[in-house]
């Protein structure tokens, strides 16, 4: 056969190997094949304008991903064979992993199915292929996380029933409701929520400084899966930016819809990441970077550059960005104080930061830590020394939207708890902030459905009326092992034994005695 034309460019060749395999259907109606593309009001006039965010054919995908996996599992094997858990900085560190496995890993699974769904339902084949690749990547992430933690689970408490807990435990409804919210939305909002707001704008805060922190705390397995996962993330981030630009370029009517989604998902993501702020400032025994610094680099600086870039489309920075920027001085301390009080109902331990750690916090947070937070910790420490470790036995009020207890303060007054409420259909709903209240106002029918853990306990839907029964029976938290104060916990005692400081605790000493 004669070859007349000139050779395809890389870009055109990739299009032949992806979107050109699609065709205009004639035996079924397009809207029956792609029924979910219109109800959100996003107008797409020409899918051909979709710019492929990356050009990875399946053969290259298999090749590169296999190489990554080979490396990763070699490290997991070495880590387990050499009892790598003994080389971490301190066993308190593992509590961050407990939060990660119960709070984050199940979201990766949700992302896998969410992307499989949108990866089927966009009528633009280029976008479908990009979403499907992200889908299978997300499956990779949940599975490698489970495998990375598998060894820790054999040596520490609190990791053992992560998926069961994710569906039930009170604070895990924060990440769960976040993802349920995105997955129950339409395909374009899903991508704005996860690809753009979460992956592009916010996920760096979780994976980059926190994983660097894992490295700094001797956790080879976690840093390896974290960075290996992030190498997929570069593709996901590119998709996130592309999808936003694509929607904005397709039709001017899309701009206000996208802006509202950005406002909503920025705030929702910010609230979710408050859990990460606590991991970074309090749960890493060796500190790499404060939450405040991480927020400045990864949100204020990067987000600033990004939103300036998007100005040309008529997009402004997220509505409650200023409140979030103010919160950087406070949220980690407020959240850790709360979890300290409610450790009887968590699958991880809490503790009072050491003197050296408090000094580090004072340095990092010169305007707020000594003034507002140190006195509280010192007070609790005294109580603890007297044998009266403080636990709060009243159930907290949860925000109807983000489901974090209403523990945050007013953006401009750190002595005043922030609380909003409104009446909808004769019932009063409570919120932690203007950001969350706004989200509710726009879609009350969605948020009145929320499965609020505290309400559910009161309504008797959690296998018991008292907290202890709920925690043990419904949450599967092993009382005295998974929960409560770190000092003196079985994890602590085993760690001391590993380090040869003190003998094992009572429950572990049967054979040694």
């Amino acid at each position: 056969m004669a070859t007349k034309n000139k050779k395809l460019s890389l870009k055109d060749k990739y299009q032949y190997l992806t979107r050109d395999m699609a065709w205009e259907p004639s035996y079924q109606k397009k809207e029956d094949i792609f029924p979910y593309e219109r109800f959100e009001g996003i107008k797409i006039t020409d899918w051909d304008k979709w710019e492929d965010p990356f050009r990875l054919t399946m053969d290259a995908y298999w090749k590169y991903q296999a190489e990554k996996e080979k490396k990763l599992y070699a490290i997991f094997d070495a880590f387990a064979q050499n009892n790598g858990h003994q080389n971490i900085s301190d066993a308190r560190y593992v509590n961050a992993l407990k939060l990660f496995l119960t709070g984050v890993s199940p979201l990766e699974y949700g992302a896998f199915q969410g992307y499989a769904k949108v990866g089927r339902h966009f009528s633009g084949a280029g976008a479908r292929v990009a979403c499907q690749m992200q889908s299978i990547d997300e499956l990779r992430h949940v599975q490698t996380q489970i495998h990375a933690m598998s060894h820790y689970n054999k040596h520490f408490n609190g990791l053992h029933d992560f998926a069961h807990m994710h569906d039930r435990v009170w604070f895990l409804s924060v990440p769960k409701s976040f993802f349920d919210d995105a997955r129950s939305a339409g395909p374009f909002e899903f991508l704005t929520a996860i690809s753009f707001s979460f992956e592009y704008v916010l996920t760096n805060l979780l994976f980059v400084p926190f994983m660097s922190g894992a490295a700094y705390n001797g956790d080879m397995a976690t840093v390896t899966f974290g960075f290996s996962a992030q190498s997929d993330e570069a593709r996901h981030m590119t998709l996130g930016l592309e999808v936003i630009k694509f929607m904005l370029e397709q039709h001017e009517d899309n701009v206000p819809i996208v802006q509202r989604w950005i406002d909503k998902w920025f705030w929702r993501g910010y609230r979710l990441l408050s859990l990460v702020s606590m991991m970074m400032d309090y749960m890493l025994p060796n500190k790499v970077m404060s939450w405040k610094d991480a927020w400045e680099v990864y949100y204020e600086q990067n987000g600033g550059a990004l939103f300036r870039d998007l100005e040309r489309y008529g997009i402004r920075p997220p509505k409650y960005q200023d409140d979030a920027n103010k919160g950087k001085h406070h949220i980690s301390h407020q959240l850790w104080s709360t979890f300290y009080q409610y450790s009887q109902a968590t699958n991880f331990h809490t503790w009072i930061p050491s003197e050296a750690e408090m000094n580090w916090l004072s340095e990092q947070y010169p305007d707020t830590f000594d003034k507002y937070y140190r006195p509280r910790f010192e007070h609790w420490q005294k109580q603890q020394e007297k044998g009266e470790r403080f636990y709060n036995n009243t159930l907290p009020q949860l925000c109807q939207v983000c489901q974090v207890p209403t523990l945050f303060t007013e953006p401009d007054d750190p002595t005043q708890l922030s609380h909003r409420s409104l009446v909808h259909d004769g019932e009063r709903y409570h919120f932690c902030s203007d950001g969350c209240c706004d989200i509710f106002k726009h879609e009350p029918e969605k948020y009145i459905q929320a499965w609020l853990p505290v309400h559910q306990i009161y309504q008797g839907n959690c296998e018991g009326a008292d907290l202890e029964t709920v925690v043990a029976k419904y949450y599967h938290i092993n009382i005295g092992q998974d929960n409560l104060e770190y000092l003196g916990s079985p994890d602590h005692r085993r760690w001391q034994a590993i380090k040869g400081n003190k003998p094992l605790g009572a429950d572990d000493s049967k054979d040694a005695a």
Partner: protein, 333 residues
């Protein structure tokens, strides 16, 4: 003494996660088990999907097929992501070698024009069928429940994309990388009468709502006829015309089909064994779709390998069904 304590301190306090313990006891678990069972949320969903308010998220009610626990369906290959990509990486390495061998020696461009045209008319349009299969499997992965089920389908979805790309590259070998041959081939898919029944079948599959029906139609019934017909009989037919080299370029598909049929059969068997209602439901879908698939393939068979080959394929498929416990139908191709 301190040595004893140290030894004791490295003894694991448990061998695996609690959900795996509940299923298999507290003993060391395989990576497949830990990565596949119970990783999907099952309860306390917060919001009903805007795109399907009749169902919840992860609602097993999106299929008429009922299973007490969908984790009963497992992968005989025990693929989790890492094993999956490494297995495919090996296959792609061999395939890459074959493509580059064909390219360097001009094995396709050396073929007579008529044979090249046959490849573009009869083989390469299957890339569109692969894209349909890719969409269908992605759809099942998004809608079905249980980690053991969902991951099977996303692997299958990506495999189909990959095979569609290999088929496309056959045309790129023929046209020297200009895309012209792909355009011609696509016109056959869209306009040539011999493809229209199959294109209709693929488009019809894209609107199937029940995800188990969809996996059954795509992965068992369509593939169960199409792959033997095109990658065995048609492959032989090409060889008879002196185009046996094309075999090198479709080796991936043959290996893939024999591998993936194993999990498809295992899935169908398990679901069938669950209840009489499932037997009836599956049987009724098979009765609707199997004749349609054979009919849709008839013109393609007639234009190449001949009707008897298709009858043979249909008979083999009937035997496969029988092994799975379903009544086989008499279908004249």
């Amino acid at each position: 003494m301190s040595i004893e304590i140290k030894t004791h301190a490295v003894e694991p306090i448990r061998h695996t996660y609690s959900n795996i313990q509940r299923r298999f006891g507290d003993k060391p678990a395989s990576r497949y088990q830990e990565a596949s069972y119970d990783i999907e949320a099952t309860t306390n969903f917060h919001y009903r999907p805007l795109w399907d308010p009749q169902h919840g998220l992860n609602d097993p009610g999106r299929s008429a097929v009922r299973m007490a626990d969908w984790h009963a369906v497992t992968d005989p290959r025990q693929f989790y992501y890492g094993v999956y990509v490494q297995s495919r990486a090996k296959m792609q390495e061999a395939t890459e070698y074959n493509f580059s061998f064909c390219d360097k020696r001009g094995l396709l461009t050396r073929l007579p024009d008529a044979v090249q045209e046959n490849l573009l008319r009869l083989l390469v349009p299957l890339r569109h069928v692969e894209l349909g299969a890719n969409m269908n499997n992605s759809s099942v992965a998004g809608d079905c429940v249980a980690g053991t089920m969902t991951q099977l389908h996303i692997y299958q979805a990506m495999d189909r994309l990959g095979m569609g790309q290999y088929l496309s590259r056959i045309a790129l070998l023929i046209d020297g990388g200009t895309g012209e041959a792909l355009d011609r081939s696509k016109t056959y898919w869209l306009e040539d009468a011999l493809w229209q029944p199959l294109r209709r079948l693929v488009e019809d599959s894209l609107v199937i709502k029940d995800w188990f029906e969809l996996t059954l139609v795509q992965n068992l019934i369509i593939d169960g006829h199409l792959y033997p017909l095109m990658y065995q009989h048609f492959d032989q037919w090409l060889a008879e015309q002196g185009a046996e080299d094309v075999s090198m370029l479709t080796e991936f598909m043959r290996d893939w089909f024999s591998e993936s049929s194993r999990w498809v059969d295992a899935m169908v068997k398990t679901v069938r064994a669950e209840s009489e209602a499932n037997v009836e439901q599956l049987q009724s879908w098979i009765e609707v779709w199997q004749p349609r698939v054979v009919t849709a393939l008839a013109p393609l068979a007639e234009a190449s390998v001949g009707a008897p080959a298709l009858s043979e394929v249909a008979a083999q498929f009937a035997a496969r069904l029988k092994k799975l416990g379903f009544a086989a139908q008499e279908i004249a191709a």
